[in-house]
Amino acid sequence: MHAYLARRVLALIPTLFFASVIVFVIVRLVPGNVIDMMLAQNDVGADKLTREKLIETLGFDRPMWEQYFRWAGRILMHGDLGNSLWQNTPVTELLAARMPVTFQLGFLALVVALLVALPIGVYSAIRQDTAGDYITRSFSLLMLSVPSFWMGTMVMVFPSIWWGWSPEVRFVAFRDNPIQNLKQMILPAIILGTALSAISMRMTRTMMLEVMRQDYIRTGWAKGLSERIIVIRHALRNALIPVVTLIGLQAPILIGGSVIVEQIFVIPGMGLLLLDAINQRDYPVITGVFLVVGVSVMVINLLVDLSYGLLDPKVRYR
């Protein structure tokens, strides 16, 4: 177990190295560089002098590899991801403001996804191929099939026309005012969560179908145990595995894939930060978001893998 953990953590190092190089270089190859964009901020013609000064100020006059090692060095030595080119704010500060928001949204969405997926998954498994199975499953799949930007737009627009009500989009941090914060977060979490529920619903259903065919369940039936007891005591326990797997699988979606709902519901999360950074060619911010999202997902996946051992004694770490 410890050896396994050590190996997994060690394996992160080369992956992170390659990921960071690629990210660092790629964003700087994006057509349209930040210098050009900064020069376009003013109505006064910028001559060569200004351009060179700006390049020097931002440190782009150094060779790419040197820039990379300076950047990577600062991360390793001081945990410093550099400063935003536009705002001069440390990237770590920007991320510190955005990460809790994104994690909160992701967590809420996950809860919603499971609240939808588990009952439907279980129900459609024990009533396989009945009308109930079709209807509940269809609902979940339908949610997956509607683009989230459209769902978001509908939820935003129509209540305002019918009832003069609109979702709250003025952001308040959870620690400042939990209720106000949840008022804004809950709808996007439902939209994200229901869309994701189909995946976990499928997983739960398959798992249940499988479990229900196992000998001990059959024994249970034979012993005349009620359906409820069988489902709850034996079968649902097994559903924990898909739940955990789901967290691993959906971590990347939840952490970085919520850009669209973030945009519609004006949630200042990492997705929007990245989108803005891409639009402004704010390289340190792009690389910072990338790195932090990547590492978070890797860590979550590691935790998920480790937790299998706790849930299912059959699993052995090699």
Binding site: L16, I26, V30, R137, S145, T206, I255
Partner: protein, 295 residues
């Protein structure tokens, strides 16, 4: 880590026709999905013949006309026929969805088979690479790639294909690992059959069901992903009539003056993705009940 399936990955089902009959009998919902899916394929393939107008036939005087006999789905803000654009949209979706799904499947199969069959160090390294790759949210990778290489159909196809392909390789790999341990593979190895022969004769047929299912659901994922990109302004550039672009662009802008502008592409998109999903689920149930955790 490994949750490895411990039974053969697939049951051989004989005969295509018999399979279709089974689909209709056992999975009526999936069958409906299949019919819609085929209909959509047909629309896409024959869009040029079916569409009453050109995909970019502009006529400002006819702008925002509600559905009528001349324009069954109405016209958009440039006076283009929405029906025709939806049909051409199906064509684009077919092109994007199928090529990207094909690429994805190919990538999944190559990585999955190599990693799963060769095993050992190769497997370990490949899996770490896959882990790293999957740590980056699809949309983030897409945004960055599209802003690097510029928006365009080939770029989106290749990126989506790679993204989904690498992610899907996990499923193929676990199917391969299971198959590899089977008696007949060992037997084949012991009588000295070459690797290619084992791969093509024994492994591939056994991992075919998950490949088919993966491919089907991928088509839906790709169509959906493209619509998300369109919303963020990184999709296939106009005037290409992708459903995502029609829905997120003029569909949203003219939501009130011309609800049909959103309704038509929105329905196409949702119905097709939905159909693909139920069809895929039915396939999964019939071909490979043990597949799980596949996105």
């Amino acid at each position: 880590m490994a949750i490895t399936a411990d039974v053969p990955a697939a049951r051989q089902s004989g005969g295509f026709l018999r399979f279709v009959v089974r689909l209709f009998r056992e999975k009526p919902l999936g069958a409906v999905g299949a019919v819609i899916f085929i209909l959509f394929l047909f629309c896409g393939l024959f869009a040029d013949v079916l569409a009453p107008y050109g995909l970019n036939q502009i006529n400002p005087r006819n702008r925002l006309k509600p559905p009528s006999w001349a324009f069954p789905f109405g016209t958009d803000n440039l006076g283009r026929d929405v029906l025709s654009r939806c049909l051409y949209g199906a064509q684009l979706s077919v092109i994007i969805g199928f090529t990207a799904a094909m690429l994805a499947t190919f990538v999944s199969v190559v990585i999955g088979i190599v990693s799963g069959y060769v095993g050992g160090k190769v497997d370990l390294i490949t899996q770490r690479f896959v882990d790293a790759w999957m740590s980056f949210p699809d949309l983030i990778v897409l945004l960055v790639v599209v802003s690097v290489v510029g928006a365009g159909m080939p770029q989106i196809i290749v990126t989506l294909g790679m993204l989904l392909g690498i992610a899907g390789s996990r499923i193929i790999r676990s199917a391969v690992v299971t198959t590899r341990e089977n008696m007949y593979v060992h037997a084949a190895q012991s009588i000295g059959a070459g690797t290619p022969r084992i791969l093509f004769r024994h492994i591939l047929p056994n991992v075919l069901p998950p490949i088919i299912v993966l491919f089907t659901t991928r088509v839906g994922s790709v169509i959906l992903a493209e619509s998300g990109l369109s919303f963020l302004g990184f999709g296939v550039p106009p005037p290409a009539p992708t459903w995502g672009a029609m829905l997120s662009g003029s569909g949203r802008t003219f939501m009130f003056q011309g609800p049909w502008l959103a309704l038509a592409p929105g329905l196409c998109l949702t119905v097709v993705v939905y159909a693909i999903n139920v069809f895929g689920d039915a396939l999964r149930d019939l071909l490979d009940p043990r597949m799980r955790g596949s996105r």
